[in-house]
């Protein structure tokens, strides 16, 4: 299964919100849609879900225009909220039925999910009697109960305690393993790094970077080394300005260019008592900050990164 957005454009009044968004998300993999606040993530998701049409461009599923109503889509919005005064079961059934399930199927599936998320005891309680984290789990059920083929999770981890976050991680992994298309939108880069094979970074309605996360990292300019050594103080002293302390331990050495990598490694190994030396791969956080922050100046330099076409 393959979900494809092609050249999606959208204007609100005079303001161009999306200027030609294209990306492909595949079944059995998680796709991370990143971007700062107001970058156009929610608009992209709404177009993808047919809340409003795009001015231009198309949404394809397996190469054909997506048929809304036939392809179940699950959505966990960033702005959470259901009916606070209504019993949980009633509203979950309502939402599942809106998405096309019959009553019997809905009850069965909802009961499974309530059990799976440890919420069975709240089945007939009113939503507003639950804690925030538990309300969020109920909201997650509205996104998953109707067995969607495409799952869109907007900031799924915000507001969850570590135990619930772990539970959600397991659920997300299950969904991916079932071959579903999982679309993530989040500011919490560690979760994206953990789940997503592919990412796209949006800025000002444009995709400024996209591709396989591993490739992006590998193809990133490899001009920094991480060194762990007994002689860290000596290295700092002797190499001077190009050294800095790494937050996670060890030293970071900034090279004049990536071509100096081998030479520096040899020098280090021959001169000092070295425990470990490796190329510093950037964290997604670094990449995000760089692209989302500098996109105005970087636009020309940044291409769409896929396999093998890095920014050396």
């Amino acid at each position: 299964m393959k979900l494809e957005l092609r050249n999606i454009q959208k204007k609100f009044g005079e303001k161009e919100v999306l200027t030609g968004i294209s990306f492909t998300a595949e079944g059995g993999k998680a796709f991370g849609l990143l971007g700062r606040n107001g970058a156009g993530k929610t608009t992209t998701i709404r177009i993808l879900m047919d809340v409003f049409p795009a001015d231009n461009g198309e949404v394809l599923l397996d190469g054909k225009a997506i048929q809304y109503g036939k392809v179940p889509i699950g959505y966990l919005p960033e702005e959470r909220g259901l009916y606070p005064k209504k019993p949980i079961m009633d509203q979950l059934i309502y939402f599942a039925r809106l998405k096309g399930m019959n009553h019997k199927e809905a009850v069965k599936s909802i009961d499974y999910w309530l059990e799976r998320l440890g919420m069975a005891e709240y089945r007939n309680k009113r939503l507003d009697t639950l804690s925030k984290g538990n309300q969020q789990k109920i909201q997650l059920i509205t996104a998953l109960a109707h067995r969607p083929q495409i799952v869109i999770l907007d900031e799924p981890f915000s507001g969850l305690d570590p135990v619930n976050a772990m539970l959600l991680k397991d659920v997300v992994k299950e969904q991916i393993a079932e071959g579903k298309i999982v679309l993530f939108s989040s500011h919490q880069m560690n979760y994206i790094e953990e789940f997503c094979d592919q990412i796209a970074i949006l800025n000002n309605g444009k995709i400024v970077l996209q591709g396989e996360l591993n490739d992006i990292k590998k193809n990133y300019v490899r001009d920094r080394l991480v060194v762990r050594s007994e002689d860290e103080e000596r290295i700092m002293r002797e190499l001077g300005a190009c050294c800095s302390e790494n937050e996670e331990g060890g030293l970071i050495i900034q090279l004049p260019s990536a071509n100096d990598k081998q030479r520096m490694m040899r020098t280090l190994a021959n001169t000092y008592d070295i425990d470990e030396v490796k190329v510093l791969e950037p964290s997604l956080n670094d990449i995000f900050v760089q692209y989302a922050e500098n996109s105005h100046t970087n636009n020309q330099a940044v291409g769409v990164m896929g396999k093998g076409e890095g920014r050396q």
């Binding site: 409003f52 259901l82 309502y94 809106l98 909201q139 509205t142």
Partner: protein
Amino acid sequence: MKQFGTILKFELKNYFKNKIFVGITVFLVLLIAGVMFFPRISGMFHRDGVSESKERPVMLVFADRTEDMDVIRQSFTASFPGYDVRTGETDLTQAREQITSGDVECAFVITGPTSYEYYVDNLSMYDSKTMTADEVLQNLYRMNAMVGSGISQEDAQQILSAQITHQTKNLGKNQAQNFFYTYVMIFALYMVIMLYGQMVATNVATEKSSRAMEVLITSAKPVSMMFGKVIASCLAGLIQLVAVFGSAYLFFNMNRTYWDGSGIISSIFDMPLDLLVYMLVFFVLGFFIYAFLYGAIGSTASKLEDINTSVMPLTMLFIIAFMVVIFSMTNGSVDNLAMRICSYIPFTSPIAMFTRIAMSTVPFYEIALSICILIVSVVGVGVLSAKIYRVGVLLYGTTPKIGAVLKAVRRG
């Protein structure tokens, strides 16, 4: 279509699970039961307390010409059957005190053959005793005059008591008879549209402010949402009306004999069937057109507090329509120019045209035209409202201006 059914069922269930909705309906039914059974119950009390009925209010009559006193008393007693008429018992000063203290209800002091003074403690708005007294004294005066000029007493009496009979041949509708049920129906329509319109607006705004909308708008089509909500509230309103008027009709028939004397109440329940059908048609269409707009307005409000100010223009429009109709009804000129125009404007036609049908004779093509305009408008307003709704529910922050919303709707 399946979604629409799900929404309709869910919304309708909300009404029937709403304690206030159920409470008000039960209260109204009980109230009507109370009113309808009142004559029967009060009749039972009256029969028990026979002694009560003997205590009739006292009316004093004074006259300078004591020679006519008997005749005067007989005439007053005959004309005021509910009163204990007494003559020449006390003097006027005492009588005044008795009136103020409440022992005596009123007093007539006859000062001449054609003049008298009427004493009463608090003059009621509906006091028509002077009219009766005028008549009594006028008759006495005429009688005396006739007897004085040689006509025998019997002849004079016959002349004076001559009865004129007449028959009204009504070619159109009887406005006096139709007035009350038209009034009741118009008022019911007005109340239901106002109440339920506000409920639809609040319902939409609540979903928006609780953010349930985020899931709803991605799960269901705005048109299904809008039509589901409005039709559910229309059904709830109809069911409430049927419960109230149905129980009223039932209770009335159970007590029909006790209400025989009251033409007004009987006229309400003897409403012709075709009018009831028109009532239903105009109720449903009028309800839709307003409820759609109330829903659209509700979708543009971010907070529940904003609703009251947002719906004001629409509410005013409906109040004006209601006022025009009520004024025309009370003037008896339901076919005036304003009413004719209002009969074709979709926002006013439900009550204006219905009033004209009930109280006057309207050619069928005019009714059909009015209903057609209304149906087309309902569909148009429904689709427009669904579009406003789709744009409105995604707008947070300050309530947008109408122009901005319509622009956004046009852009899609």
